[in-house]
Amino acid sequence: MLQLLRKDFTITRLYLLLFFLFILVTYIFHVNNITIFMALMIGFPVLLFYFDSHNRVNTFLVSLPFKRGKIVLARYLYLMFFLIGSFIFIGIIEYLAFHQFTFLGNFSYLTFSNIVLNFTILTILLAISIPIFYFFRSFNHGISVFMIFQVFLVYAYTLITSNEYIRFDDKLFSIIQPVINIQPVVMQLIISGLFLAGSYFVSVGLSYKKDVF
């Protein structure tokens, strides 16, 4: 397992460095925006699947003495480490910018609950997106469907939030809100965990069922 995580780190370390530098730079130039960070974060798994596909590494991986489930689990864990690491980094920078280095800020300060909410949204999006790449073993097909999904999501979100005649969001929130209110942070993390677990089992099932290309 550790080997698979290290492998993913080795192939993405340059991108990680650039991503964290980018976050810092946005604070220095007062253009920090959590939505941009999140958009970059959701592109990260695409990068990993692209590297796998471009080099046809899965053929090599399944020939090694790994269970396919372990290969998929390592991918999920690595992405989770990346998300958690990124949010911790953003949280620290936010804290420092707000309390220590005030010249960095343009501030709407991100609270802990903001970070948890963003983390939850992102894990749900990833949980839905990742199985796409296991379903379509061709990266080109996978990325096409992934992009359509993203466009649909942005369009649906814009439509729902800016059209006063669509009240679907209120109905949805009236179901979700009381559940989250039991213990906001814990409940959001549980929801994230459930989505990820479901997504993981779907991906493992697909990885056993599908041919590797």
Binding site: L2, Q3, R6, K7, T10, I11, F51, H54, N55, R56, V57, N58, T59, F60, V62, S63, L64, P65, F66, K67, R68, K209, K210, D211, V212
Partner: protein, 283 residues
């Protein structure tokens, strides 16, 4: 005792089905897997390695299902390409691969690294085809596998390294008594080293025989075109007729052709002759 057993394995595909593959890979021998390009060699190896799913039948490796990931501890593989991240170096690959294998032999790795003259810290994308093949072989051999699977390892290699590779395989057989399954369409490679041959054509196994049987029983008969009629045609399992004459592949005792005297030439068939003539469709 067999290392691998294919039992009626079928892979249904729209463009190219592989049907009812039944053959074995005997333990302690080199088995050559021959067939023209596109006959199903790579797909068969990919099914063996659980890269492609099978639709029917069963594959056992060391007596276990081929889907059991633990058997891969005992398998070394060399594919026709090195499927690894192009920004990786051999050092990166080693850090990733060595801890996975319980039988990793660092001394052996160092020995082959020097023998193959491979750079430890150069990116794979800068490697030549030969260097990539050597890298595959380096990792396939360094964990001392009992069974080595090779898919077209010699294609695209220069003759010098091809010969070196075959020498290494022969050394392994002498020193380690390993089982090797080697697919190739360059049959000259196998004439030298193979003990058994499995011949696949259009997704079906045409035969599995020992090299001794092949040398003993397959002959190429050459003669004038006029000698071929409906009766004589049926004697051959493969036949090529040209303006100059004919050459036919005969399986069995060739003494029946001795009655033709100097009108025919009888030669032992090479694997290339067998592959060429058995896939030849003459009207």
């Amino acid at each position: 005792m067999n290392t691998v057993e294919f039992q009626k394995v079928t892979k249904l595909r729209k463009d190219f089905p592989i049907e009812d593959l039944t053959f074995t890979i005997p333990r302690g021998f080199i088995t050559g897997f021959i067939g023209p390009n596109g006959s199903g060699k790579t797909s068969t190896i990919q099914m063996l390695m659980d890269i492609l799913q099978i639709d029917k039948g069963s594959i056992t490796v060391f007596g276990n299902s081929h889907k059991d990931h633990k058997i891969k501890q005992r398998i070394g593989f060399v594919y026709d390409e090195l499927f690894m991240y192009e920004d990786f170096t051999i050092q990166h690959m080693k850090s990733f691969i060595a801890p996975i294998y319980e039988t990793w032999n660092e001394d052996l790795f160092q020995k082959y690294l020097v023998k193959f003259g491979l750079p430890l810290r150069k990116k794979i994308k800068k490697f030549s085809k030969g260097m990539k093949m050597k890298t595959s072989l380096l990792f396939a051999l360094s964990h001392e596998p009992e069974f080595i699977v090779m898919d077209e390892p010699t294609s695209g290699l220069d003759p010098i390294f091809r010969r070196e590779l075959l020498d290494i395989l022969q050394e392994l057989m002498v020193n380690e008594n390993q089982t090797i399954f080697l697919s190739t369409h360059i049959t000259n490679d196998l004439d030298r080293i193979a003990d058994y041959i499995v011949f696949i054509y259009q997704g079906r196994i045409l035969f599995q025989k020992s090299m001794d049987d092949i040398r003993e029983s397959f002959h190429v008969i050459k003669g004038a075109k006029s000698m071929i009629d409906e009766d004589t045609k049926d004697l051959f399992i493969g036949l090529q007729i040209t303006e100059v004459g004919f050459q036919g592949l005969y399986e069995g005792n060739p003494t029946i052709f001795e009655t033709f005297g100097d009108e025919v030439v009888i030669e032992k068939a090479t694997l290339e002759d067998i592959m060429f003539l058995m896939t030849r469709k003459e009207e």
